[in-house]
Homo-oligomer: 632 residues x 2
């Protein structure tokens, strides 16, 4: 039985790079998003997310609401993700005022729940007679799922049951509706499945497990379900449309990752969790096949997924254009969730490597360094004049906006940063696992308590001190790290190594030091990816680097990097949140001032300057490019 | 007064490369397209183009039509372009049967014309009460324009006036409707303007000139016109939509080439023709600005224009992706028309160079070598598995289809090939001009008669013999040709040279020999084009080359060409219509079987084989790429 490291106030404290991000989320993002939900921020899209709950509560009590439902149909889920982020942030830093705010807010949510357990402010306020009539895009189950996740988080951190009880009642209602009463259909946007699994894991409630399994098993069994459900609406659903939400065939038969990328990875996350809990081999086989397809054929170097803005979707194998990439922030977060659940099935560094790739690159790029502006879409190239302008590039922006009417990404990122420990640590009957490196303390259920000290991803030494307990410890060695040294109490240890992890015995008082490879390195793409054949990227540790105009005379298009050229680690840049720049031997290519010329370009040696991809777009509108021309 | 070389049976005969294409059009394309129009070809889209005329004729006579209108609203124009192609083909090869077929057909067209001059089978059959109610997309003026062009061609070649009289009557009707009766609006799809100018040039009819000028001047004066006209239809037109058909502001104020590429260049063609005929400086200034914008910032190396399939349109400067390119065949033909009219304003090789680039690459690529299958869209890269499959690449196909429901391109290409002499030759008061090189004979109005012998674009010697007359001759020297020799009667002549043309005196009996540079060469793109920075292409003469899988072990993605490497001219390939291949020094790059790796790829020297771009996709489904990775 694998346990994701559960978080309680005592059990996890962080510092260093991740600690700073958690602090930013706590001090800036959470209050900012709260203000947005309360419509107190000038110049950003109105949310009404909280007033929707107040008004739904009035309807439940038989009163007249003050106003109609406002915003996207799935607005409740933004609030739920915010509660989750706020709850986890309390684990680092107790905050009575925030906790009080959460309690009052949870009261509002409880009041918006129907007697029978139904909870959804959109349908309660706007279409009370249309419940469950639109599983395709009604998002009732999606919103329920996020509120279940919020309930788990708040209970885990504070021990308070109110929201958890609300959502257990909701889950029981759903179980009755779909499993007992046999209501047809399944979630149009997967999410409740993974949430039900979290509730099950936390409470042992069997109906939650059964309902999650039911939704996974029924999905795609009757491909005609959604087309029938949607008759009479704006568009006629074709079989091709069913790929959009992975409903074209039963999940165990799905061969490739298709459709809306966020829906896909949320679905696979639940599948992987069920497989881990129930030893369902057929489900695990499907998960592995879909994992392979994503990570071997459909993933950007930044851990971004979803190559196109058209329906925010996967396309086909090896179609990975940088400039028109979608790479939704939420999709990379979902890929982390999927990876994290795959680790519960098999301890294999491949999963953790991808989890880290997605987090340190696409996920973090989703937020401005000051925590106040957000990218929904994360291209690997930005060329002002084309990006955001050409009709094919409208979805890729040159600047992070302050908020979105469809605001799924910002609170999703906040909750993931706040619960970073869940992805960093885990344990099973025999071993505690360190998947990711983050400064702070962590307490395991088996009695082991560790502290971790590191400047990672800018420092490459990770020091674990065993504060309490004894047993086996597994530390992941990333695939990118070529030179690794592991010391126990200052002495090199010969430790067992398997699938990207080293295993060693520890006891209280031990100090385990891992030193990873700190050298920047080039990365070459498979020549099967047409968009980037012959290109090269620069990385250091888990960080993918990019070249921005502001560091390179305003022009990154005419830069080419020398094969095998020196990559030198430059100074820490305080203005970039202490990011470390890399200098690369390059040539500046001067082409004639014509579109096409027979004159070979002049080339002059120069030094190109790269910054971590996640830190791009913090210094104004600017060219940016990850994959560079190479000179061999 | 500049005269495009008019074609009559005696005046122009061709042989060599162009002659073969004209023969193909005559013997295959014209009969094939006639069969399609008569719905006699199995497995291709039904056309009903001819029965629409028969049925419209019945309606005009007050009889019951046999069936409803069938096909695209602008189906009449496909027929018109076919008549034009067939008419010009008679100039090369008298064909009584074809001429008889044309005559009968013209009778049908005449019968479908209303008493008042109105002619459009769609509105006559399907929406008789909606005439002129939908200038935005009704295509009445567009179809009228194409029929006027057909009328000019048939009259020029055969001297028969019937269709010309029908269309003069139609033009007079339009003049009355728009100029005298002051009907609001202008053509949703520019075309009638350039056609009216052709009729004017041929007949001297002043109303045709006035109406063309009127449509050009009124366009975009009231940007609210189309949004008002379209109220109550499927979509609400915004100001942004008006860019689609260049109606957002008056033409003289338009700064960049925007919107639907075919509409754009058809419009500019008319503008350039009016400027040439009326010495309208403000119009010429606008034409030059738009020409510069296209050819310096928005044109593919193949002379393709229109970077996106979304509304078949221009996007923004330097946005020229190869794999998702639209590059409609018709748009490159339109660019030739525009270039040809610009030459009437100014003899400048720049225009003829672009005309040639568009013709020998994108236009010819629009047709399979056997004349039986056609591309509408001409990407610069084709990767089976992605091309035609990924949602962003659906418009780019891996194989030419046999026909299209919207069949504008095939007959458009046929008529252009059949009238190649119009683009190749011209004259003014003092000089005869040889813009393009095509074997055959040409007679000018000033009494000069030339024969031209050449294997161009595969032979680089062009021999002109002066059969009759004397005077000044101007021959274009293409910019790509670095080494040129001009001999008159075997002796090198010092001739005047200006803006890409050499001028020399000739008299009957003279033989002028031009020898152009036959060396293959590399072309480098501006580093401002993000999609192809650091890439290189191979050309020879006017031909852009591409690399196909079938010549390169099935894989062109892992090929890189050596900077300055040897390019050698290989054998003529009979199976490719006698195309000449080029061999290039290259390396084969082997990347690890992973998406991304820190392992530098292995590189092995090899020889890559290129074929002319226009000949691609004649040997099955296949990778294809124009812009190659370079090794410096």
């Amino acid at each position: 039985m694998y346990i994701q490291k559960q978080i309680s106030q005592k059990a996890y404290q962080s510092d260093g790079f991740i600690g700073n991000y958690r602090k930013l989320v706590r001090e800036t993002v959470i209050p900012y998003q709260y203000a947005v939900f309360n419509d107190q921020v000038e110049g950003v899209e109105k949310s009404h997310a909280i007033s929707n709950f107040i008004n739904a509560g009035k309807v439940v009590r038989g009163e007249q609401p003050d106003e109609e439902f406002y915003g996207e149909r799935f607005q409740d889920s933004d609030v739920a993700k915010w509660i989750e982020a706020a709850a986890y942030s309390l684990a680092d830093a107790p905050d009575k005022e925030l906790e009080g705010r959460l309690d009052s807010f949870i009261d509002l949510i409880a009041e918006a729940q129907d007697e029978n357990g139904y909870l959804d402010t959109y349908f309660t306020l706007a279409e009370p007679d249309k419940r469950w009539s639109n599983l395709w895009s009604g998002h009732e189950l999606y919103c329920a799922g996020h509120m279940m996740e919020a309930a788990c988080a708040y209970y885990e951190v504070t021990g308070k049951r109110k929201l958890l009880d609300v959502m257990l009642k909701n889950a029981e209602y759903l179980y009755n509706e779909f499993v007992i009463q046999r209501r047809e259909g399944w979630p149009g946007h997967p999410e409740v499945e993974l949430a039900l699994m979290k509730v099950y894991k936390l409470t042992g409630n069997e109906h939650c497990l059964r309902l999650a399994e039911y939704f996974i098993d029924v999905r795609g069994q009757d491909p005609e379900f959604f087309p029938k459900e949607q008759i009479g609406r704006n568009r006629v659903l074709t079989m091709e449309d069913l790929e959009y939400n992975q409903s074209v065939k039963p999940v165990r038969e799905q061969e490739t990752a298709v459709g809306h990328a966020v829906r896909a990875v949320y679905l696979y996350t639940a599948m992987a969790h069920i497989a881990a809990e129930t030893d369902d081999d057929s489900l695990l086989t499907a998960c592995k096949r879909l994992w392979e397809n994503i990570t071997k054929k459909r993933m950007y170097i930044t851990g971004g997924i979803g190559s196109t803005g058209i329906r925010e979707a996967f396309t086909v194998d090896y179609d990975l254009p940088g400039d028109t990439a979608y790479c939704e922030t939420c999709a990379s977060l979902g890929l982390m969730f999927f990876a994290s659940r795959m680790l519960e099935n098999e301890i294999n560094g491949e999963y953790a490597d991808v989890m880290e790739r997605a987090f340190y690159n696409t996920a973090l790029a989703g937020m401005q360094l000051d925590g106040k502006r957000f990218f929904y879409v994360n291209p690997l190239e930005c060329i002002p004049g084309i990006t955001g302008k050409a009709v094919t590039h409208k979805h890729d922006l040159t600047q992070r906006p302050g908020w979105y009417s469809c605001a799924c990404c910002p609170p999703n990122l906040a909750r993931t940063i706040s619960s970073f420990g869940k992805y960093a640590y885990g344990e099973n009957e025999t071993t505690v696992f360190c998947h990711l490196y983050a400064g702070g303390e962590v307490a395991f259920q088996n009695g082991i308590k560790l502290s971790c000290q590191t400047e990672y991803p800018y420092g490459f030494t990770v020091v674990y001190r065993v504060l309490e307990g004894s047993g086996k410890m597994a530390i992941r060695i990333p695939k990118w790290s070529k030179e690794n040294v592991i010391l126990r109490n200052g002495t090199q240890v010969a430790c067992e190594s398997e699938k990207g992890y080293v295993y060693l015995e520890i006891m209280a008082g031990d100090e385990v030091t891992l030193t990873l490879d700190d050298q920047p390195y080039f990365v070459y793409p498979s020549s099967r990816i047409p968009a980037i054949t012959g290109k090269v990227a620069v990385c250091r540790g888990p960080l993918v680097y990019c070249f921005e105009g502001v560091d390179n005379n305003g022009d990154v298009l005419s830069l080419a990097l020398k094969r095998g050229g020196r990559l030198s680690v430059a100074e820490t840049d305080v203005s970039l949140g202490n990011a470390v720049k890399i200098k690369a031997e390059a040539v500046r290519v001067s082409t004639a001032d014509e579109l096409y010329t027979a004159e070979p370009p002049k080339e002059e040696a120069c030094t190109a300057v790269a910054i971590p991809y996640y830190a791009w777009c913090n210094r104004g509108e600017n060219q940016m490019r990850v994959w560079m021309t190479e000179r061999v």
